[in-house]
Symmetry: C2
Subunit: 294 residues, 2 copies
């Protein structure tokens, strides 16, 4: 049986000047999948091998190989290949590079991560724990908070039910945050940035609270806080360190095999349920990576 | 005759969480001065020597020496000591460290600087020219634009009279900006950030357009642009590299002596005119460093 797992991606692209490229009716919706090669004349991708590709929402794809990558050659039989779309794939690499390359996270530091129960956030927090950090996670449901506690987060809260986000952040880290892994943007960032320590670093990975804005949300300019605390804020995309991917995927796999990385997935069955799964993901209904099994 | 030059500083301080420490009635207004020591029992500051200190708005100061620094020991006789408050002082160091330490500006890159005719901005642009960069400067009057052209800026414009700041920025650098030295904040930043190149760097030095806000100004969140262009934005204060000051001041002095650095000052005479000079500075009436001669 052919295995098709499709991962759901938000569809926002920004060009210069600031504008969104929206998808047009009739275009194939973007998405990444693990798929089995069922016919091939390309020796790089023989029949039976598994590949990861951004082929969009399709049950079957004809490809010349461009943009496809083979699964790690030594992918263990007892590890689900769907993890190549999550913890041992792009989201896991995003977490790793954000922490190591952008933030330069050091043992003993305090890290804040939001959308912490998501595909990226849940790996961010776990890697930060592996590195000996104190981790504070924000998420949007009590189930997610329980999940974060399971993962070993030092502090976790439901931002939707707290009285004051500012107070919760201050209580969770009275001396402030060395690092902030930003997945949410918008109002959360306005509250979190003043909670940084002097010389704090912010990795801007996502901005999920603003992806669906018709008009861009506005908030107070962070300049004064950035100056007086000498903060550094950097946006990044996972492709920047592509040359490190094979080694990095092996590191993620090793942590998974050692039991240091729990890899939660929200699996939806059936191609026809993809739109609902996608919309649910944007509304925060998933814990861990949102996967559709086709 | 005792020489007292007082430099005007804006009075905004930000603590955690975001709030402004406003000066209270009866406090001495903050400011930096070059002053001659007229009485001393401190061997580090003998009578007759000149010091730079943040003593506030005073004609005379009693000090135990804390926070005072002597002028460069080899300060040339034909260079006005008031430059120790400007190009060969804190503003010059700010320009230098912002360009070298924060932005890592490289020859051939394109730099944007706003408040470009100010104490810091005018030095930023000139150092960037020394380094072989293309420099675009924004300022708030036609006189300032003429001054920037004199300084060798490649492009300069009056942001108050342009039809569209966005269009002017695009025309001045059709391929975008590698670096942005930010002195203004607020709306300017919202328009400028989308004009950055991929991997652009932004040094946040000042936010003069927001210093007098009773309520913080708001604008669109920059997260999406920061992510998709992988921008880096860093706030800084000049004190971070204090250990390099003596060497850096000598470099600035050398450029000045070689005619590579024009050091413009806006000199107001008389202690009693200080408040008007200060308010004028915040309203952009000065070209170069605002100085009051007492």
């Amino acid at each position: 049986k052919t295995l098709h797992l499709i991962v759901l991606l938000p569809s926002v692209v920004v060009s210069r000047p600031f504008s969104r490229v929206r998808m047009k009716e009739g275009e194939v919706m973007i998405g990444t999948q693990v798929a089995k090669v069922i016919q091939s004349i390309n020796p790089a991708f023989p029949v039976g091998c598994h590949v990861v590709g951004r082929c969009g929402w399709r049950t079957h794809t004809v490809s010349d190989g461009t943009g496809l990558t083979c699964l790690l050659s030594d992918w263990p039989q007892d590890v689900s290949m769907s993890l190549a779309l999550g913890a041992i794939g792009m989201p896991g690499l995003t977490a790793l590079y954000g922490l190591e390359e952008v933030l330069g996270l050091q043992a003993g530091e305090t890290l804040l991560v939001n959308a912490a129960a998501g595909a990226v956030g849940s790996i961010v927090g776990q890697i930060a724990k592996i590195k000996g950090c104190r981790v504070v996670g924000s998420s949007g449901s009590n189930d997610k908070v329980a999940f974060l506690k399971e993962l070993g987060f030092d502090e976790a809260f439901n931002y939707k039910t707290v009285n004051s986000l500012e107070e919760v952040l201050m209580t969770a880290a009275p001396n402030g945050y060395d690092c902030f892994f930003e997945n949410v943007g918008g109002l959360f960032s306005s509250v979190a940035i003043p909670q940084m320590k002097q010389f704090g670093r912010i990795a801007v990975c996502g901005s999920i609270s603003t992806y669906n804005d018709t008009n861009p949300q506005t908030g107070p300019y962070p300049h004064l806080t950035m100056i007086f605390k000498q903060l550094k804020m950097e946006g990044f995309m996972v492709g920047r360190w592509e040359h490190k991917n094979p080694e990095s995927l092996r590191r993620l796999m090793a942590w998974k095999r050692e039991g240091k990385l729990q890899c939660r997935e929200q699996v939806t069955e059936g191609f026809e349920n993809m739109p609902a799964a996608f919309m649910g993901m944007l509304q925060g209904e998933n814990i861990g990576k949102a996967i559709v099994k086709v």
